[in-house]
Amino acid sequence: MTLAPLLNMLSAALQPADVNPTGLRWPSDPQWGNFITAFNAGNVLRLMGSSLFIAIFVVPTSLLFATLAGYALGRLQIRGGRFIFLFLILGLTIPFEALMIPLYYVMKDLGVLNTQWAVIFPLIGLFMPFSVAWMRAHFLGVPKELSEAARVDGASTFQEFIKIQLPLARPALSALTILLFLWTWNQFLLPVVLISDPLDRTVAGALTFFQGQYLSSIPLLNAGALIIIIPTITLFIIFQRQFILALLQGAVKG
């Protein structure tokens, strides 16, 4: 049941491009060339570049901000930290839909509308509640004795953070990396609303462009859509253990 739609995509993608295929049926003469046609006609290379550009800014920045804030809120227990945390958590319940109209005008005022920055900036902000909560939870779980021992040995906050806390945070950070990357790569609403040229969007956001382009050819539309999901599926199959763990923890903590 789970696989049927994906297999159906593949079987449709391999039919001759100018024929309207029917149902789930393996083609007698698989047209692997459809993938090449869709790859070129869909500007997939440019799309992947655009998605990567967005992810390269969003993911590391979010990780850095979240680690610093998570450390401060979870480990240093600053005054007013609880209030800041609750204020951030509130953001988890704000649907993107409630923000899409004002974000459009905010990005316009900043002069970045229709560029990748119009998606990069809001995504970093929108990822903060979850990411900070995630890193805070990690730092809360680190036994206090460890850092106290480091302090007694004369380590500064900075040394303790770099030498003790960061290495311990690696599993939490890699899981968060997976989640943020997936959410960025698959982000649809923001690119559709904030970037008018589909070729400057994320790969997911550009699927509408494929739909418009291949309205007449179901095989090419499916080939294009498959090309777009292949990178994440490949990553998933290689790192499935990490992916599943990350997504499960992500669900529970979100």
Binding site: P5, I78, M100
Partner: protein
């Protein structure tokens, strides 16, 4: 309290005080991004919601009128109703199916089969919802696989273009959501079942309980936390569905699958009624909050 721990506490207290300025400094980047790109737009949205504004020209203050318009407009209320119908498909079906499947997979021998089923069940979580929409619009087409399968079992008479039919479009779209979310529910329930005390299962088995009784008295109560978490996630997904609808029906046929997200998009960008779209956005946020907060409390109270 020993001297040692007292010293340590005093030391920790002193160091906490010393580190407050540094701690604040570390929070600043995250807080700035959140304030600048979430809270500020949110307040701007609240501001717009009191205006009659087409996005370009002069704006006029209209007070609460936009809110009254959302709550009296049959089309917009219809889109909220549709979102509630989607909860059935995004929440009820995945959670019940997930519970059943998890129980079933647990009874299988651990190993390749159950590992493989976990991986496969998780695939829909990895691909963009927009791609799921494209895959399924082809499944649902007149010449698609759904009608083909119906033909095999002699039901070709009910075959149709499922997404183009007023009576079936909403359910068809909803089932895409069920397809996406059932895997997540199943796998989360599986890890949850693993944490249930095995002696509880043994106890009911000694009592000669049926499979169903075991399910109701041990499995479901043991998973209440997971159920609360998944209800929260899936209810939010249902109320704020956008990607799937956008790539399958765009709200059609007519308004059969119109949901708040698509309405806001259309009103704000196609009809350029920024005030009304913003008001609807705020109403949607309040709706999500009022549905989700009780669910959160439920999971917490039961924890204690």
């Amino acid at each position: 309290m020993t001297n040692r721990t007292r010293n340590r506490r005093a030391w920790a207290k002193a160091s906490a005080r010393r580190e407050t300025p540094l701690g604040w400094l570390l929070v600043v980047p995250a807080l700035a991004a959140y304030l600048g790109f979430v809270i500020y737009p949110l307040t701007a949205g609240i501001q717009y919601s009191f205006l009659d504004w087409n996005g370009v020209g002069a704006a006029q203050w209209v007070g609460l009128e936009n809110y009254f318009r959302v709550l009296t407009d049959e089309t917009l209320l219809g889109s909220i109703r549709n979102a509630f119908v989607l909860i059935l498909f995004f929440t009820l079906i995945p959670i019940s199916a997930g519970l059943m499947l998890a129980t079933l997979i647990r009874s299988m021998k651990p190993g390749l089969a159950s590992n493989l089923s976990q991986t496969i069940l998780f695939l829909p979580q990895i691909i963009p919802l927009a791609a799921a929409g494209i895959a399924w619009s082809w499944m649902y087409a007149q010449t698609g696989a759904v009608n083909q399968v119906l033909g095999w079992v002699g039901l070709e008479s009910i075959g149709r273009a499922w997404l183009a039919d007023y009576d079936t479009a909403l359910a068809a779209v909803g089932l895409i959501g069920s397809w996406v979310l059932t895997g997540l529910c199943t796998v989360l329930f599986l890890t949850g079942i693993g944490k249930i005390d095995a002696s509880l299962y043994e106890a009911v088995r000694i009592d000669g309980a049926s499979w169903w009784r075991e399910f109701v008295t041990v499995t479901v109560p043991g998973l209440r936390q997971e159920i609360a978490v998944l209800s929260t996630i899936t209810v939010i997904a249902a109320l704020s569905s956008f990607d799937i609808i956008y790539t399958t029906t765009l709200g059609g046929p007519g308004r059969a699958t119109l949901v708040p997200g698509i309405s806001i998009y259309r009103i704000g960008f196609t009809q350029s009624d920024v005030g009304l779209a913003s008001a609807f956005g705020i109403i949607l946020m309040v709706l999500v909050l009022t549905l989700v907060l009780p669910l959160q409390r439920l999971s917490r109270v039961r924890d204690n």
